[in-house]
C-alpha cells in the first residue's frame, strides 16, 4: 500500500481524473473529498461489502426458489402496508 502524508486541504491524484482531497480532521474522523468521473463507483467500504454479500446471497436464494407463485400469493393476501410510510420510517435501519 502506498502511504502518503497530507495536510487538510491537500490532495492526491490517482491517474489523471481522480482527485482525493483531505478536507478536514475532527477528533478521530477524517473527511475525504473525491472528485472522479461518474463512471467511477465510490462506496464506503462497509456498505460496498454488505451489498456485495446481499447480492450474492440473493443470487443463491434465487437458485433455491422454485417459482414466484408463493411470494406472489403472499403479496396478494398480505400486501405490505408500511411501504408507503417509508418516508417517515426512521426506525427502519440496517439489520447488519
Amino acid at each position: 500500500m502506498l502511504i502518503l502524508t497530507r495536510k487538510p486541504g491537500e490532495s492526491v491524484y490517482i491517474g489523471d481524473d481522480i482527485k482525493v482531497t483531505l478536507m478536514e480532521i475532527k477528533g478521530n474522523q477524517v473527511r475525504v473529498g473525491v472528485d472522479a468521473p461518474s463512471s467511477v463507483r465510490i462506496y464506503r467500504e462497509e456498505i460496498y461489502l454488505q451489498i456485495l454479500e446481499e447480492n450474492k446471497s440473493a443470487a443463491l436464494l434465487s437458485q433455491d426458489t422454485k417459482d414466484l407463485g408463493e411470494i406472489a400469493t403472499t403479496w396478494k393476501k398480505q400486501k405490505p402496508t408500511t411501504l408507503g410510510k417509508l418516508k417517515s420510517d426512521k426506525g427502519n435501519t440496517e439489520k447488519e
Binding site: 436464494l61 434465487s62 411470494i71 403472499t74 405490505p80 410510510k85 417517515s88 440496517e94
Partner: protein
C-alpha cells in the same frame, strides 16, 4: 442488414427455464454489472408472477435474481436518480424503471427486499446500473411482511403530521 438490431432474436440458455428466445430490444445492459458479479452485463426481465419477476443473465445460465418493481413501494420510496451517469446516460426527461433485488427465504414471510441498492434502468436505451443509496431509511434487508406483525408495528415511527 436491413433489419434493425431491435428486431434481432437472441437465444437464451437458462438452467431454470431451459432454452428460449428473446427480442434483443428487451435486453437490459448493465455495463458495470451487479455488485459482486462483474462481467455479467446482459440481462432480461422475465415476467413471471406480478409484482415479482426474474432478472436473468444472458451470459450465465444459472444467474438470475428475483426482483420486484419498485413502483409497488409507493411515494415513500423516493431518491435522486443518478443523472449524467455514464453507464445509463440518464437525463432528466428519461423514463426509468427501478427494480429491487428480493431475497426469497424458505418461509415466504421472511422475504426481504434490498431497498439500499436498486437497479435503475433507463428505458430510452435499456441501460442500467445498480446504485447505492446514501440514505439510512432504505434497508438492504427490508422485510416485506414482518412489518405487519404486531411486534414489527411497534418499531415504526408515527408518520409526520401534516
Amino acid at each position: 442488414m436491413s433489419s434493425s438490431a431491435g428486431n434481432e432474436i437472441l437465444k437464451v440458455i437458462s438452467t431454470r427455464f431451459g432454452e428460449f428466445d428473446v427480442n434483443a430490444s428487451s435486453v437490459i445492459t448493465i455495463p458495470s454489472g451487479l455488485i459482486g458479479f462483474p462481467g455479467f452485463s446482459q440481462f432480461i426481465i422475465l415476467e413471471y408472477n406480478q409484482p415479482f419477476s426474474w432478472l436473468h443473465s444472458l451470459e450465465r445460465s444459472d444467474l438470475a435474481f428475483v426482483v420486484v418493481n419498485a413502483a409497488e413501494f409507493g411515494d415513500g420510496y423516493i431518491f435522486d436518480l443518478p443523472l449524467g451517469d455514464s453507464d445509463t446516460d440518464l437525463r432528466e426527461e428519461d423514463d426509468v424503471a427501478v427494480i429491487n433485488l428480493v431475497s426469497v427465504r424458505p418461509a415466504p414471510q421472511e422475504t426481504t427486499v434490498n431497498l439500499k441498492a436498486p437497479v435503475v434502468v433507463n428505458l430510452r436505451n435499456m441501460r442500467g446500473r445498480q446504485v447505492v443509496l446514501d440514505d439510512h431509511r432504505f434497508s438492504m434487508r427490508f422485510s416485506l411482511w414482518a412489518a405487519n406483525e404486531p411486534q414489527g408495528e411497534a418499531k415504526i415511527a408515527e408518520p409526520e403530521k401534516k
